[in-house]
């Protein structure tokens, strides 16, 4: 065997293989729990065999009956897939926004995405004569519109103050759109329940169609954000130092914001507003693994997907057959978990 050259140079740690494996195992386990747990329990083995049976040319025979098969693939699978897509997206968008604004408290709804989606959905539910299919489209359009307004408003303050100005612009747009949304909602108390159920968010009605609608946006957005992981580390040095290292800071911020917003808007359109995921998941990874965006960005995507699938399982089983709003669960279980991680990390780094 030939020995490695002694001087291989400096390396960035990136994602340690052990942590990558941990996160993948967590995601796969979450998916199996999400598919298997419910009024009718299905074992992980049966799920795997049934999945293989659906692959053409393999000739594997599933042990599941027709009813079980339908529950698994028509009810639970789309729900689990949409929850995974949304969870991964919210977490990776939160991580990216925190990087690009160098602010740990920023979440994916920073640029008014939540308020815009809420207003869009409220308009359609209130005036859109029972057209449920239009709700995701209106939510997506509202979210995108809000983010563009925030960006244009923030940029108008001049390039030197972009970060702070963008955050303030997001707050301004959010406040304005929320007031309009509340006003419309108060005019028509008969649709209040529908609006409220959108705003609380959840996956009770998730379908393969939802997954197919959201997946392209979330897929492209995630790829773009993962590709930015090294540049986000450079941005941690501040705008001026990053610029002196040859980074076009304004362009990076625009591209990252656009990708994160498009993906978040698609997630919100199919799931409503689910809070806390975009903050808790990236920070848990920072505390447990590394603060480098090379680790935070890709691991947030995987861990966020698993986290929301598990939370959804709790939301639909705890008071079964009633469903709890998933936002209640993300915060109720997420907050104490995060508190423990925060405490345990004391004194490290």
């Amino acid at each position: 065997m030939i020995a490695e050259p002694v001087q291989a140079g400096v390396r960035a740690r990136g994602v340690a293989p052990a942590w990558a494996l941990c996160t993948v195992v967590f995601l796969v386990a979450s998916l199996l729990v999400g598919l298997g747990v419910g009024a009718i329990g299905i074992s992980p083995g049966a799920i795997v065999v049934s999945a293989l049976a659906h692959v053409p040319l393999l000739h594997v025979h599933s042990s599941l009956g027709n009813v079980q098969d339908a529950i698994l693939w028509q009810l639970r699978a789309p729900r689990v897939v949409v929850a995974a897509l949304v969870g991964g997206m919210l977490a990776i968008a939160g991580a990216s926004y925190q990087g690009v604004f160098r602010n740990p408290l920023v979440d994916p709804y920073l640029l008014g995405v939540a308020a815009g989606a809420g207003l869009g959905a409220t308009l359609v539910i209130t005036y859109g004569h029972a057209s449920a299919q239009l709700v995701p489209i209106a939510a997506f359009a509202g979210a995108t519109f809000a983010a563009i307004c925030s960006y244009v408003l923030g940029r108008s303050a001049g390039p030197a103050r972009t970060t702070g100005a963008l955050v303030l612009a997001g707050v301004t747009v959010t406040a304005f759109l929320t007031s309009v949304q509340t006003f419309i909602q108060q005019q028509r108390t008969d649709v209040l329940r529908n609006v409220y159920s959108f705003i609380l968010g959840g996956f009770a009605t998730a379908s393969w169609h939802d997954a197919a609608v959201a997946a392209p946006y979330i897929g492209v957005s995630s790829i773009v954000l993962v590709l930015h992981r090294r540049v986000l580390d450079v941005l941690a040095l501040g705008d001026e130092e990053a610029a002196s290292l040859g980074v076009n800071v304004g362009r990076v911020r625009l591209v990252v914001c656009a990708a994160a917003t498009a993906g978040t808007a698609a997630a919100v359109a199919v799931s409503g507003l689910i809070g806390f995921v975009g903050i808790i998941v990236p920070h848990t990874i920072r505390l447990l693994v590394s603060t480098s965006y090379r680790a935070v960005v890709p691991l947030s995507l995987l861990a966020g997907a698993g986290f929301l699938v598990l939370t959804d399982v709790i939301a639909r089983t705890v008071l079964s057959p009633q469903e709890l709003p998933i936002g209640v669960i993300t915060a109720f279980f997420g907050a104490p978990f995060f508190a423990v991680v925060l405490r345990r990390s004391r004194g490290r780094r």
């Binding site: 001087q7 140079g9 400096v10 960035a12 930015h228 090294r230 040095l237 002196s244 290292l245 590394s290």
Partner: protein, 253 residues
């Protein structure tokens, strides 16, 4: 190597630079001196394209405006006065960030980049600290890490903004000796300096700025006159000259 011709910068309501012209020859160390707010740092920032300016700046014979950010970053490395120290970053990873101008937008470091960073670390004797977190370093160690990052940029020009601000007297000398040691590779250096004696000891030439304009430009012996220092700094000083150089000493009025 560097030429500023009639460069003016407005920052809000302030005229930070007003028709500044000076040049730095290849391999030369020029220190920009002057009282607070004279425009020293603004001149460095204009050179790096961090502020808008009127007039003309040429770097390595090419107009700085025609260079992309990456091209400029391959020509001139900036050591900021107060560098950002992101938590959770090791010294090695920090130095590696200096290779950014050579790495594609979506790319990762190549073997060459890792070796260049290693060379910079060895050069500044940071190898024992390479695995340490940036936030755990002392002021002098951090200064060396920032210099190593700039060195990893492989740029022929080094721009130093007050390289000795946060250091005690011994560390100040060590840092400047270190910079002096880097000159054998033909490095061109433009630094801003507060300490006039140290500026005179290490720089080949001093450019004295006051209220955004150049008021003196020449060898330390010439620029550091009692008249210059007292009129532009409003200070009461005694300037002592001997075979070791020029010494600017404050004297109580």
């Amino acid at each position: 190597m560097i030429e500023l011709h009639d460069v003016s910068v407005r920052l809000g309501d302030t005229q930070a630079l007003d028709g500044v012209s000076f040049s730095v020859a290849s391999g030369e160390w020029v220190a920009a001196i002057g009282p607070n707010g004279a425009g020293k740092t603004t001149a460095l920032r204009a050179l790096c394209g961090l502020v808008d300016y009127s007039g003309e700046i040429t770097v390595d014979g090419r107009p700085a405006r025609s260079l992309s950010r990456r091209e400029l970053a391959r020509l001139a490395a900036l050591v900021p006065q107060i560098p950002e120290t992101p938590p959770g970053l090791t010294v090695g990873e920090y130095v590696l960030l200096g290779r950014t101008p050579y790495i594609g937008y979506f790319g990762a470091e190549s073997r060459d980049d890792r070796l260049a960073a290693q060379r910079a670390i060895d050069r500044l004797e940071l190898a024992p600290l390479a695995e340490r977190f940036l936030t755990s370093l002392s002021g002098g160690e951090l200064q060396r890490a920032v210099l190593a990052r700039a060195l990893a940029q492989d740029a022929p020009i080094l721009l130093l903004d007050e390289p000795t601000t946060a250091l005690d007297l011994g560390r100040q000398q060590q840092a400047l000796e270190l910079v002096h040691g880097l000159r054998d590779a033909g490095l061109t250096i433009l630094s801003t300096m507060h300490d006039l004696t140290l500026a005179g000891q290490y720089a080949d030439r001093l450019v004295l700025l006051d209220r955004g304009g150049v008021v003196a430009d020449g060898p330390p012996d010439e620029v550091l006159s009692t008249a210059n220092v007292s009129s532009y700094y409003g200070a009461s000083v005694r300037v002592v000259r001997d075979e070791d150089g020029v010494f600017v000493l404050p004297v109580r009025r």
